[in-house]
Structures are given as C-alpha cells and as structure tokens.
Symmetry: C2
Amino acid sequence: MNKKVFRNLSYGVYVVSTLDGTRPTGCTANSVMQITSEPASIAISINHDNYTNGCIARTGTFAVSILSEDSDPGLIGTFGFQSGKDVDKFDGTAHTIRDGMPVLDDCCGYIVCRVIDKMETSTHTVFLGEVTDGDVLETAPAMTYAYYHNVIKGKSPKNAPTYLPEEEAAEPSARWVCSVCGYVYDGEVPFEELPEDYTCPVCRQPKSKFVRK
Amino acid sequence: MNKKVFRNLSYGVYVVSTLDGTRPTGCTANSVMQITSEPASIAISINHDNYTNGCIARTGTFAVSILSEDSDPGLIGTFGFQSGKDVDKFDGTAHTIRDGMPVLDDCCGYIVCRVIDKMETSTHTVFLGEVTDGDVLETAPAMTYAYYHNVIKGKSPKNAPTYLPEEEAAEPSARWVCSVCGYVYDGEVPFEELPEDYTCPVCRQPKSKFVRK
C-alpha cells in the first residue's frame, strides 16, 4: 500500500469547537463531511487525544467554523498544535456564541450540531451531528487542505487522520523548520536575516522555535 | 439555518465501487474522508437508494477511485445519474481489478477497504473501511467538488448528501439544461446551433435530452 494516495483525498480546513464547562475550546480538523441532506447531518473525526473529543462527548454539541483562503493561517496553529487542556485557545481569538457554541469570526461559514450518534475507532471518534444552525459569513473561497499544504506550506499534527509520517523526509535538507508545527520557511530573505520578532505564520511561535534541518 | 453553508464544505469527487456477485458496480460520491492514519481507515456515506449500498453490505468490501482534474467528466454521469441495478456501469469503462475490487483506470489514485463498522442514518449508511490496498496512479491534481461545480458546471443528484434543492432556482431563466443530470449548457455557441451529435459533457446523454428552462 502506498500511503501517499491519502494526499489525493480532498478536504477543507475547519475549527471544531465546543464548551469545556462554560469555557470555549476546540481544535483544527480536516475530516468533516456531510452525511445526509434532509434532515441535514454531518460527521467529524476527532482523535481520542484531542481534549475537544471528551468535551464534545460531555456537551453533546459542537460547532464547525469553516476557514476561508482569507482566514488568518495562525488560527490553524492556535487550534491545531497545542492542547485546549493547557491553553485557552479562544482567549484573544475573535468569536461569537451562536446557538450556544463558540464560532470563529474569521471564517466563511459555520455549522452547529447536536450529536446524534458516534462510532469508535482505535484512535478517533466519528461524531454524527444533526445540524441545528448554520450560515455563510463571507464570500471568500473555503480553504482546502491542498491550499493549506501547497500555498501556506502547512503540515498535519501527529494526531490528525491526514498525518503522513513520510512528509518530513520529502523536504530538501538545510531548511529552517518550525519545531512546533513543522512549517518550513521558504521566504526570499535568508532565515538568519529575519527580524527577531519574526513569528511562524502557521502557529505564531517565535523565531527561536525554528531549527535548521 | 442557511443551507448554502454546506457549499463551503470541501470534497473530492470519487467513484465508490464494489461487486454485485461477480459484476462490478459503483456510484459517484463526494463524502469520503480519512478517519485514522495508523492503521489507516476511511469513511464513506452512501444513500440507501444507491444500489451500491446493498452490494457493499453484502461483499463487505469497497474501492474508492479518486477522480483527477484530467479524468473524463463523463464518468461522473455514468456512475452518478443512473442506477447500477439497471445498467452495467463498468461496461465500456476502462478498469482494473485491484485487491479484488474494480478500480477505474482514469483516476489519480485508489483505495481498497474492508468494511469494519457502519452507522445508519435516516437516508445514508456511513461505512467505516480499513484500508487494505491503495496507490497513486497519476500526478494530476485530484478533482474537487468545487472544480466539478465551478469549472465543469456539474450538479449533485437528488440522493447525494451534498444535494441542495435551491440550486435550480438560482439559475437564470432561458438556459438549456440536461434533463438527466442537471448540467447547464454555457458554451459560446448558441445551444440550437450545436451539432446533432452533441452530448452532455457530464452524463453523455444526447442533445435531445436537454430542455429549455
């Protein structure tokens, strides 16, 4: 089996969110798809290790914020490369409570769901959600995973369904890589000459978190 | 709720196939996503009305052929706007048996799965498949649903999770529409002046199947 074929499956880039008690929390996700049209339902796949997983199981509700090509790519790092157990990811992130759930303001649309079923796998839970609310928020095209990977040069964290262990090995040597999210710097200015307040465009970590590979 | 938000979810375009006894059959699908990476599993959503649904349940095995931007869009109509109960969709469609399952030759990659779980909804079955085989077949970019919708001007059949009842109403009046698949002719040559052997680029039906709306 050639695992590179999984790169040919197409996805969007989403932030799946819920409440931890009264505190908003969430995580970046790719695996979101519509299951039925009438009544509308969607499925999401969330790793058991994601703090969001247990919070969705407890509240029985989640929201999906759909990132657009105009959304700040830093949101992917904020929600994707750190845990909601340790960090209040929504602190400093503009959001609005919609149908009881936290939704990012910087996205092209959102969907709120009530969990109606779930399926367990070895590492992930597939939550089936009946849609209770949803709207389009802006007209920019939805960000696809291909756009994130090819244009923003982003990577998947290790607990994502779409993570490919080989992806590091495919990079050429002697490049500066963010040790937190795997972003590879490819600007025209040599990395050493970047200002000291340079931050990773994906996860917002400081220049000091980059390592030469 | 504004159902137009579902248009902002991103998908690929796939043919999900299996065997009806010894006869290959299958249907067009958008709702395919990876669930786990190790061991690799994917989920698909198939309408109860799709003949493929019962065939997958019986064989416990399915394949996903991933269409690319270079794939013949006619495949979408062949597999999407007619039933495998009535028609041998693989008759005249180049394919190869891979790991026991029929896979299109005109695609950028394939995945073969053994069904390990399923979840029923009111209209669709979500099959969870453990991946037993898969490979990349060509380097052309995977066709996204957005590409199918915006570039090929294709539509969803009524039993697709992504079907939007409003989509007909959004079209301007006095256009020629394929009565089989909903494709709207938008070429520069007036429809009436097209040659008599013109066929729908999506479902390959003859010019006579177009109606003025």
